[in-house]
Amino acid sequence: MASKTANQSTVPFADAPINQSLTAADKIELLRQMIRIRRFEQTSLKHYHNGSIGGFLHLYIGQESVAVGSISLLGEHDHVITAYRDHGHALAVGMGMNECMAELFGKATGCSKGKGGSMHYFAPDKNYWGGHGIVGGQTPLGAGLAFGVKYKGLKGCCLCYLGDGAINQGAFHEALNLASLWSLPVIYIIENNGYSMGTSQARSSAFPKEGLAARAEGYNMDWDKIDGVSLYEIRAGVQKAVERAHEHCRPTIIEILTYRHKGHSVADANAEKYRTKEEIQEYMNKHDPIEFWKNTLIAEGVISEDDYKTINKEAGAEADAAAEFAIKSPYPDESEIFDDIYWEVDNNTEAGRSGRHFFHG
């Protein structure tokens, strides 16, 4: 198992203070989290194909380091909000595989009682505010969560994730202006996986040669660009933004370069048409963040190949158990349809009892 005195890593950014402070156990935990996300999604994919899961399933496979690395930096007053490719962030904030898997199966035991599905996971108790299906729609909400933290006088921030395609939504630009104008502690993380559905980044965005995040300059905002393969680099880069948010209450945009191994969603029939097989293979073989971290930890003497296999096996078993849990769970009762629409109705308050709230039948 892990040796206590890990070798000094030669990997860039390993010597950043935020990474120096990682214990061997912390590093293994980061690996475990990424593997758990991957095994969760691989299992969900299997059940999507056998018809147990409906709708869209946007897999995060290949991007795990982004959520795990950035969320590993957060504390009590920090918040997370993202788009529809949300399974990784959900598990990284500590949501359980069971409720996440059951949500995919549309079961009553799902994190949203089967009302949200794959794209709409929520866990306010873990400062996780979704899971949003409209491209870019979550970006003003991210500013709002940061506003709330600041209004209450807390030292915290909001990590708001979005795709490289989402940066072209108007709401995002409005949110950027507000974030900088009002000095909100929000960090926009552009997960640049190179494509928005079948449209390459080059075909969707006009941007300066420095990258997508450089648009921040127009809003007098700090920005950064990070290679997302390495957890060390992500943690070192995002930490600077977290400090900026905590200490100076200033926003940041960070572009993190990453890649999705699978199609846009499982329903993406063209996953291998708008990008070449060679390109996909190249990223899977040479830029996979889990492989990279595993090799880093082996080189540091933190884990052995066997340790890795054990973690992988455990995560696979956990995912299978979650699928079992989901399969065995009941579907929501039909009576649930009219719950969770109005707080006042759910809580049977006087306001909830005044007037007709629903108009069917």
Partner: protein, 331 residues
């Protein structure tokens, strides 16, 4: 002592009292602070409450309403002013998707206690882009509440209830009503010490026996004028029912009145297609068919974008003479 104050002043009092009642209440909007409000509804509030509570926003309705939704998830209670409700359409995704569905999609883990308020009316010669009446559009969406005060009393009592409500409330006012005065009790005359009008309870503004005029917002004022003409010139005693909110809707009050008068006309400044009156007339048909002595009629704005030319725009909106003529056709 009962006081005569304007609808605008009544709103301002309501806002001011809620700012005092709860530290988490904030006001965000274009020109709401230093300029004192485009329609002076928020006049003096910035001076009294300062930058933290009264916030001038850039012209970014999607941005600041979306921001308010996010902040409300952490317990802030933002009251966001739309300079005109017509501008809601640039924030439509935030108002329809995020405000209305986050609660449902989170299985009830989240609620969004926001208020979006502003004038939603035509009739002021500002052309089609500034004259929208979207109460039917927003009331179509489960999860949202739509409130439409027609007088100063309700403007104050309803804005206070809207701010305390734990669901998103879209509060539609009228620039035509802002300057109208009405009787609003002072707090020392009220049991409980404050004026809270519950959302979801209609009000009979004029008792009648021959016909029910069902209206909301400024159309209530139009109906009251029509009812006077009907009484004086035609000996028809019309009841005027002010819905006060579209969703939730006081169905019991509607049916009770129709069962009493046996005739109903729905009057609104909305457009006709799937307007509020379409919903209500279908409900009356289903629930009170045997009580009806005549078909339920609907009077709406003309089914056209708002006309700029002042004398013509007037013809587009419901007016007392039109209501009288239609009433005579069924009485």
């Amino acid at each position: 002592m009962p006081r005569e104050i304007t609808y605008r002043e009544a709103l301002r009092e309501g806002l001011d009292e809620e700012l005092a009642y709860d530290d988490n209440v904030i006001i965000i909007g274009e020109e709401v602070a230093e300029y004192n409000g485009a329609y002076k509804v928020t006049e003096g509030l910035w001076k009294k409450w300062g930058d933290k509570r009264i916030i001038d926003a850039p012209i970014s309705e999607a941005g600041f309403i979306g921001m308010g939704i996010g902040a409300s998830m952490l317990g802030i209670r933002p009251v966001m002013e739309l300079m005109f409700f017509s501008f809601a359409y640039v924030a439509f995704d935030q108002m329809m998707n995020n405000a209305a569905t986050c609660r449902y999609m989170s299985g009830g883990l989240i609620n969004v206690p926001i208020v979006v308020r502003g004038p939603a009316n035509g009739g002021t010669n500002v052309g089609a882009t500034h004259s929208h009446t979207p109460e039917n559009i927003f009331a179509n969406m489960p999860g949202l509440k739509v409130v439409t005060p027609s007088d100063a009393h309700d403007a104050k009592g309803l804005i206070k209830s809207a701010i305390r409500d734990n669901d998103p409330v879209y509060f539609m006012e009228s620039t035509v009503l802002y300057g109208m005065t009405g009787t609003v009790p002072s707090n020392d005359e009220i049991e409980g010490g404050e004026l809270l009008v519950p959302i979801g309870k209609a009000k009979v503004k004029r008792e009648g026996s021959d016909l029910t005029l069902i209206a909301h917002g400024r159309a209530v004022v139009t109906c009251l004028a029509a009812a006077e003409i009907l009484a004086e010139k035609h000996h028809i005693n019309a009841e005027v029912l002010d819905l006060r909110s579209i969703r939730p809707l006081d169905e019991e009050a509607i049916m009770a009145s129709v069962r009493k008068t046996h005739r109903a006309i729905c009057v609104e400044e909305n457009k006709p297609f799937c307007g509020v009156g379409a919903q209500i007339s279908s409900m009356i048909m289903e629930q009170a068919f045997d009580d009806l002595d005549a078909p339920v009629l609907r009077i709406t704005s003309a089914d056209a974008p708002a006309f700029y030319s002042p004398p013509i725009e007037k013809l587009q909106l419901p007016n007392p003479d039109e209501i009288v003529a239609r009433a005579l056709s069924i009485c």
